[in-house]
Symmetry: C2
Subunit: 138 residues, 2 copies
């Protein structure tokens, strides 16, 4: 119940922090896409699976991110059908900004609770969430 409130506050806080840093044309859903693309890129279907939407929706979103300069569509190194979506320099800058914003949101929580309590909560939650899927829209 209040788990939802905390999650909502976190997402809103990160989104506000990103906007404050100049990335005003992104929604929280885009952040979930960045999470999947950051490590080493991904294909459209991988992105779709990660976001829990159809591949068409993921492709549309990729279009938007390419148009706004956050993502590049490169040929896939080992499959001529596929295209590898990777972050551009602008995309990486936004990812760093998101990390900063997340730290800003978490800092007052850590101050209020104490480092050991925060660690305990993190450990408790990580012991639970088996799937790790994220559903941005209910």
């Amino acid at each position: 119940m209040l788990l939802l409130g905390a999650a909502s506050a976190l997402v809103d806080g990160i989104n506000a922090g990103i906007r404050a840093r100049g990335f005003t044309d992104l929604r929280p859903a885009h952040g979930f896409a960045f999470v999947r693309l950051a490590p080493s890129g991904a294909t459209v279907v991988e992105l779709a699976e990660h976001l829990g939407v159809t591949k068409q929706a993921a492709s549309q979103m990729a279009d938007e991110l390419v148009r706004k300069g956050y993502v590049a569509r490169r040929p896939h190194p080992s499959d001529a059908r596929a295209r590898l979506l990777t972050l551009t320099e602008r995309g990486w800058a936004c990812t760093r900004a998101a990390d900063e914003a997340a730290s800003e949101v978490l800092r007052p929580w850590a101050d209020a609770l104490g480092a050991d309590q925060v660690a305990a909560v993190r450990a408790a939650l990580s012991a639970l969430t088996v799937p790790g899927r994220i559903r941005p829209t209910w």
Copy 2:
């Protein structure tokens, strides 16, 4: 990050539990409405504020819930402009089903963590979430 995963798992679990109990025509967003209506009813604008949407959207949702038999539109006792939205017996039955479903989701978590840890997490989170607003759609 994994806070979101836990929240998502909770919502999905409750939704699945409700469907398993025969309420197949409801979405998670409806549950958030029930939370506001349960104590003593609410007006459309109060519901809209609670859900973070416009009053038109809240009114539409109220229409749907009335049509499906979960909510009744009664005249407001002290304001002829307003109408008081209250839960029907079917609405209350669904609320009870949701509570059961929530317990089912939480039980394995409590088993895995221990009661004291769960209490600590609850206390930690409740110390943080000042606003208590819920944004079902990002």
